[in-house]
């Protein structure tokens, strides 16, 4: 059983990313959407939280916030809505951290 964790808040706004990453297990994956994309920025507050996690980030939400892909932490996958659907398909459950 694997779970896709959706985080839509910046790590500078609340602790959802930190909570999600501490609860994630084995094959779980993390997807950062909306303001959650701030968590994927290299050498940011959340960099240490992402270590060891499989992390994807929504490209359209990055672009809307003026964050270029070269500013992202190493190993983060940039995806679009098709990729979002594929992650939902690939994981058995989806948990939105609202």
């Amino acid at each position: 059983m694997s779970m896709l964790h959706l985080v839509n808040k910046s790590p500078y706004e609340n602790n959802n990313l930190s909570t999600a990453s501490s609860i994630m297990q084995g094959g779980d994956e993390l997807l950062l959407i909306e303001d959650g994309v701030y968590g994927a920025v290299k050498a940011g507050k959340a960099s240490a939280m992402l270590e060891g996690c499989t992390v994807s980030v929504m490209g359209p939400d990055l672009a809307a916030r003026g964050i270029s892909e070269d500013k992202l932490a190493d190993g983060v996958n940039v995806i679009d809505y098709n990729g979002f659907v594929e992650l939902v398909e690939k994981n058995d459950k989806v948990q939105s951290w609202l």
């Binding site: 303001d35 809505y81 098709n82 659907v85 939902v88 398909e89 609202l98």
Partner: protein, 130 residues
């Protein structure tokens, strides 16, 4: 894959109303089935046909109605949330003595049981909110 989508926030208020739409559209284009879209809390404001955004802005409500028509979607507004926010269909107008309705095409008003059933009947429940 069979999906139910829950939307907790209103249009022009929070990005989740946009995220949910683009996710639903992508899922349908990839050939997945959307069993139901359930609008809860301020999300019921996605279902008023009286919304009139500026012409150069996206019309979030009309966009949902078009998607529902194209793909025969079941889009449900939570009845208690809709009553509080003044989203009314014919049945609710009669039941509560209202002089008008404002529900948009493709939406219907029903209970929270529809969300639970959607979760049970679908392979995945994806929630968009604040």
């Amino acid at each position: 894959m069979k999906l139910t989508i829950q939307v907790n926030e209103g249009p022009y208020q929070h990005q989740s109303a946009d995220s949910a739409y683009y996710f639903a559209k992508a899922a349908l284009e990839k050939g997945h089935e959307i069993y139901r879209i359930f609008f809860y809390h301020d999300g019921v404001n996605n279902g008023t046909r009286l919304t009139t955004p500026p012409q150069d802005d996206r019309n979030i409500v009309a966009r949902w109605s078009e998607l529902a028509q194209q793909h025969d979607l079941d889009m449900v507004l939570c009845v208690a949330a809709a009553q509080r926010r003044g989203i009314v269909d014919d049945g609710e107008a009669e039941r509560n003595g209202k002089d008008a309705t404002n529900i948009a095409p493709g939406f219907r008003i029903s209970g929270l049981g529809q969300l639970i059933e959607g979760g049970v009947q679908s392979d995945r429940l994806v929630v968009f909110g604040d």
